[in-house]
Structures are given as structure tokens and as C-alpha cells.
């Protein structure tokens, strides 16, 4: 899609979504809030794993931190609860810094389990605060009673739309920036990226912190919507499982993939929720099968077959350059945005 088409299309869609409270039903709003947080979570996980190459099963740490920050700020310190959702992301980002110092000592599969252990530490610490955070019983957002329910749901809905659209925009613009180029270079070859001056650790740290920030904000949104939080549910590995499955089914390393994945996940979840364990078995199997037969996910299949593209993060060479000059051996640094921008097969 051309940049102008994209801008026009997203403006129309956003206008329709923002005006929903005037023409839709509260049920539709609630459904969209839930959809939005799975979408935003998947975008953040894709940023981390798909673009950053950091497979983490510890993202629930930020959901729990965001959720508890909301409750503590809104109930104990009487901060506006919608503002508290945003602060939850900042808290997650701040905690992500020392977390990265530990987790970055591990690579690959051990990084994935290491981040999970760190999330477990947060869960156990929160659960052991029996007085303040009410331990395993969890707490409720009593500040929610301060404003009338229809108004609260309306604000929550708008906030959700901003967060969902914001997550997509964030990943899109980040990947179009120098950071995105650096990440793509790292993905293709860490050694080559280093040799052209990409600061690998700094870029990975930045991505890790941004993903924590985004996931933390969504954590706040989830519990602004649910109104009740427990350490077991908020710091549950299930969140990371959903994020990973959504991204893998939809398509890793594209902006569109997590959107497609979130839609499929959401439909499956709503229609199969009566099936109990079978729904999660189906979801897990889909991700495993996808990984084996189409590692670039459904969006990857659509892109290959029909050339579909909504959010082009690739950069194209001017035609004269692409046809006129042979690509030099060191083309990766000089004119090689083509090689940098190639998708993983």
C-alpha cells in the first residue's frame, strides 16, 4: 500500500473506531478493548522476538507490574487511573533496565527461560506482600467506583484504541528508523552489523525496554478493564504463550503478522472458549504446525502469494541505482538497504 493510501485508510479506520461510543454498543466496545490488548501485546512481542531476535517468555513480568502500578497509584496514591496506566509502562521500562543487565548474560533458549524466572521472582515478591498487595488474594481497583460506569468504559475504550494504534505506529516508525536498520542488520549477521558500526547491545537494550514499556501499559489497560488483579493471573506464563502463538501464527517479523494473528486468536478464543483445554491445545498445535510448514506465518504466505503489504518497513532503492549499478561486495553498508531489507525466507 502506498504511504498516502495507508495514511488515508488508517485515518478512516481510526475515525470510525473513535466514534464507536456514539453508534455502537457497550458490548462492542468491551470486545474491542480485549482485542486491542492482545494486538498490542503481540506487537510488542514481535518487536522483541521477530525484529530484535530476543525470544522472551517473561513478558508477563511487565503485565503484572503495569497492573499493580495502576492499582497502587489509583487506589493508594489517588492518581488519575487513566494516567496510572501510562505510568505503569514507565515503571515497567525502569525495571526492565536492571532486568536486562541479568537477562542479557544469557542467549537463545536460556534467555527465554531466564526472563521467565525473573517474571517468577516478581510474582513471588508480589505474592509475599500479604499486607500491602494482599498476597495471593490480589486487589481490586476501587478507584473505578469514582466515575460512572458508562463514562469509565468509554474512556477505557478510547485509551485502548490509542494504545493499540500506538503500538502499531511505534513498531512501524521504529523499524523505519535507524534502529530498525540496525536491527535488520543484526538479524542478518551480528558480526557484519558490528563491523559497520551497529551498536548491538545498545540497540537490543533499547528494544527490550520499549517492549517492556508497551507491555506494561497494556498490563495497566488489562486491569483497568478487569478491575481485579492477582499475582497468579497477572504474572502468568500464559500471557507470553498467547503473545508467542499470536505472532507465530500471524507472521513473525512483520507489522501485519501480529494483527492477522490477533484477529485469528481472538476469533478462536471467543468461539472455542467452551472447549476448555481443547482450545489451547488447538492454539498450541497451530503455532507448532505453522512453525514447521510456514515459519513466516499466515501474513508471510499472503505476502508471498499476493504481494500484499500494508506497512512497508523495507526501503526500496531508487530505480536507477537498483538497475544501473552492480551491487558491490561490501554493499551491505554502502547501498545495501536491499539486502538489509530482505525478509527472512
Amino acid at each position: 500500500m502506498s504511504p498516502r493510501g495507508l495514511a488515508l485508510g488508517s485515518t478512516l479506520l481510526l475515525a470510525a473506531l473513535f466514534s464507536l461510543p456514539w453508534w455502537g454498543t457497550p458490548d462492542q466496545m468491551r470486545t474491542l478493548v480485549e482485542f486491542t490488548y492482545f494486538l498490542a501485546l503481540a506487537q510488542m512481542w514481535n518487536l522483541l522476538a521477530g525484529y530484535g531476535g530476543m525470544v522472551s517468555f517473561g513478558q508477563q513480568a511487565w503485565i503484572g507490574l503495569g497492573g499493580y502500578t495502576l492499582i497502587v497509584l489509583a487506589d493508594d496514591l489517588h492518581v488519575n487511573m487513566f494516567l496510572a496506566v501510562v505510568v505503569g509502562g514507565v515503571v515497567a521500562a525502569l525495571v526492565a533496565l536492571p532486568t536486562a543487565a541479568l537477562a542479557f548474560r544469557l542467549r537463545g533458549g536460556y534467555f527465554a527461560v531466564g526472563t521467565w524466572v525473573i517474571a517468577e521472582v516478581f510474582r513471588l515478591l508480589v505474592a509475599s506482600s500479604t499486607e500491602w498487595l494482599k498476597g495471593g488474594l490480589g486487589r481490586s481497583l476501587t478507584a473505578a467506583g469514582l466515575i460512572a460506569r458508562p463514562l469509565r468504559e468509554q474512556y477505557t475504550y478510547w485509551l485502548a484504541i490509542v494504545i493499540g494504534a500506538g503500538a502499531i505506529a511505534l513498531v512501524y516508525y521504529l523499524m523505519r528508523s535507524r534502529v530498525g536498520l540496525g536491527l535488520t542488520a543484526i538479524r542478518d549477521s551480528e558480526t557484519a552489523a558490528m563491523s559497520v558500526g551497529v551498536k548491538i547491545t545498545r540497540i537490543k537494550l533499547l528494544v527490550f525496554i520499549i517492549a517492556a514499556l508497551g507491555t506494561g501499559v497494556v498490563g495497566g489497560l488489562i486491569y483497568l478493564n478487569a478491575l481485579r488483579i492477582t499475582p497468579q493471573a497477572s504474572f502468568s506464563i500464559q500471557w507470553s504463550a498467547f503473545m508467542a502463538f499470536i505472532v507465530v501464527i500471524g507472521g513473525l517479523g512483520t507489522v501485519e503478522g501480529p494483527i492477522v494473528g490477533a484477529i485469528i486468536f481472538f476469533i478462536l478464543r471467543n468461539y472455542l472458549s467452551g472447549l476448555g483445554p481443547w482450545s489451547i491445545i488447538l492454539l498450541g498445535s497451530s503455532a507448532v504446525i505453522m512453525m514447521l510448514i510456514a515459519p513466516d506465518g499466515l501474513w508471510g504466505v499472503l505476502h508471498r502469494r499476493f504481494g500484499l503489504e500494508l506497512f512497508p518497513v523495507r526501503r526500496r532503492l531508487p530505480a536507477a541505482l537498483a538497475h544501473g549499478q552492480p551491487v558491490k561486495a561490501d554493499g551491505k553498508s554502502a547501498s545495501g538497504d536491499t539486502t538489509l531489507a530482505e525478509r527472512r525466507p
Binding site: 524466572v117 513471588l124 505474592a127 498450541g284
Partner: protein
């Protein structure tokens, strides 16, 4: 005296954790793979022993004769059927596949056996204990577990250093391409390594089932203990795994002695502390690169 007792219990618990960690360490050493179903398959082994007991009347000890080969076969099939296809395609595919299988396994177990906790009945030996000195009693079962860990590690050590297949394992670990040149089929080696890893998991699972109760969703906690054992001991070091298990076990029992809620937390914190101050673990031998 109370603390000597706590220490002794922790050390013996470490034997069980060494059994958890050995298989994880082995496959990471041979093929730089992290199997996220490790803990769930341990629980599967316990359920298989339970079924063997119910259908065939086998004691947990005799059920090992069936459970160990069964898990070995599961390992070979898992590796050759699914994971070998993802070799050389980056870190994500094996992680997603084993994580997906982990979630699937937990839910299938829940469908088959409900979410209720189960236990394996090994008879009076479960409660038997020896008083080694005043105030310090060692359970016979934890002693057997510790002995089993030492036995498994010794056997693995001998296998890796003295046998032709063991040498093939080590050659593949060092450099699969060169190993292929001298006639080693690395895919076959990977299959056998996963089989061996899960055979050890089977022993750990049955011992776990005798020691305590288990439920379908217990796998991830077992995976985390295995992971912590390996991180503390150092990647790829067999005896380091035993030391790692002991340190984890002692940290947990000491933590629980201070506050019953700190059992898991103390183990996590010692792992993270080690990661901060000695990221290669205490006895690392394997190269990190994969």
C-alpha cells in the same frame, strides 16, 4: 543442629535437581538446544508410572523398566520427527515448537487425568529414614535419589569418554560439520542425545512422583529448576550439574526454613545472583555460541 539438618536435606534434594538438569545440560551441550517440554515430559513419566501401576500392578521401581525406554523413544521421535527439521534456522523454531508441545502436553494430561494431584506409591520405603546423628535424619528415598544422580552422572561420564558413540556425541558437540566428514551422522546423534536426555528425565520423573504429588501443570516449575541447576553449575559440565543441583536444593531448604514462602524465591535469587557475578556458572565447559 537444626541447620545441619536443613543443610543435609538441601544437599539430598540437590540430587533430584541434578537429575532434572542433566538431560537439559546434555542436549544443550550436544546441539545447543533448549527443550522447553523438559519439565512436562518429567510429569508425563510420572503419569506413565502411575498407569503402569494401575494397569499392570508394577511398583514405581519396576515401572522404570517401561517408563525409561518409553521416554527414550519419545525423545528420539521428537528430535528426528520435529526438531531436526529446524536445525540451522535460528533460535526461535525449536523454542516455539517445544513451548507449544509443553502447553499441549499439560492440557492433554489434564484431559486424560483431570487436574487433581496424583502420587506414586512405593510402599514403606517412602517414610523410612536413618538418624545419622542427633537431630539429623536422612530419608532413605532422598538418599536413593542422590545415589541415582551420582550413578547417572558417572554412567554418562563413562559413556561420553569411553564409548564410540559417546565420542561421536562429543565430536558433534564440538563441530557437527567436521564430525560429518569423519562419518558421523549428526542427525542420528541428535536423536540419540534427546532420547538419552529424556531417559534421564524418566528416572527423575518417577523419583519425583514417589517423593511428592504431581499434577498436569507441574512441568514448567520442573523445567525452571532444571534450568537453574544448569545455570548455577555451568553449561555443559556434568559434575557442575550435581553441584548446581546441591546449591539450588540448599538455597531452597534454607530459604524455606527462614520463611515457608521463600522456598522457590531463594532458588531463583541464588540463580540470578550467580548470573550477575559468575554468568558462566561455576563449572562451565561448553562454549556459549550456538
Amino acid at each position: 543442629m537444626q541447620w545441619v539438618n536443613v543443610l543435609a536435606q538441601g544437599i539430598l534434594l540437590g540430587g533430584l535437581y541434578a537429575l532434572y538438569g542433566t538431560g537439559l545440560s546434555l542436549i544443550f551441550g550436544v546441539m545447543r538446544l533448549v527443550n522447553l517440554t523438559h519439565g512436562d515430559l518429567m510429569v508425563v513419566a510420572a503419569y506413565l508410572a502411575l498407569v503402569a501401576g494401575q494397569l499392570l500392578g508394577l511398583s514405581p521401581w519396576l515401572s522404570l523398566l517401561l517408563v525409561v525406554p518409553a521416554l527414550f523413544v519419545i525423545g528420539v521421535v521428537l528430535q528426528r520427527g520435529l526438531l531436526n527439521a529446524t536445525l540451522g534456522k535460528g533460535v526461535l523454531p525449536p523454542l516455539i515448537i517445544t513451548f507449544g508441545l509443553s502447553v499441549i502436553t499439560q492440557n492433554v494430561l489434564q484431559l486424560g487425568f483431570t487436574a487433581d494431584t496424583q502420587g506414586l506409591d512405593a510402599g514403606p520405603i517412602e517414610a523410612a529414614s536413618l538418624e545419622v546423628m542427633k537431630g539429623v535424619t536422612l530419608g532413605v528415598l532422598p538418599l536413593i535419589t542422590f545415589a541415582a544422580a551420582v550413578l547417572v552422572l558417572t554412567g554418562l561420564q563413562l559413556f561420553l569418554t569411553r564409548t564410540k558413540l559417546g565420542r561421536a556425541f562429543r565430536a558433534t558437540s564440538d563441530d557437527p560439520t567436521t564430525a560429518e566428514l569423519i562419518g558421523i551422522n549428526s542427525r542420528q546423534v541428535y536423536g540419540l542425545a534427546m532420547g538419552l536426555s529424556l531417559a534421564i528425565v524418566a528416572v527423575a520423573g518417577v523419583l519425583l512422583g514417589v517423593r511428592t504429588t504431581f499434577a498436569p501443570s507441574d512441568g514448567p516449575a520442573r523445567l525452571i529448576y532444571a534450568f537453574e541447576t544448569v545455570i548455577i553449575g555451568g553449561l555443559g559440565s556434568l559434575w557442575g550439574t550435581l553441584a548446581g543441583g546441591v546449591i539450588l536444593g540448599v538455597a531452597q531448604t534454607v530459604g524455606a526454613q527462614l520463611n515457608p514462602a521463600w522456598f522457590q524465591l531463594a532458588g531463583h535469587l541464588i540463580t540470578l545472583a550467580l548470573l550477575a557475578f559468575r554468568p558462566t556458572g561455576l563449572f562451565a565447559r561448553t562454549r556459549e555460541a550456538g
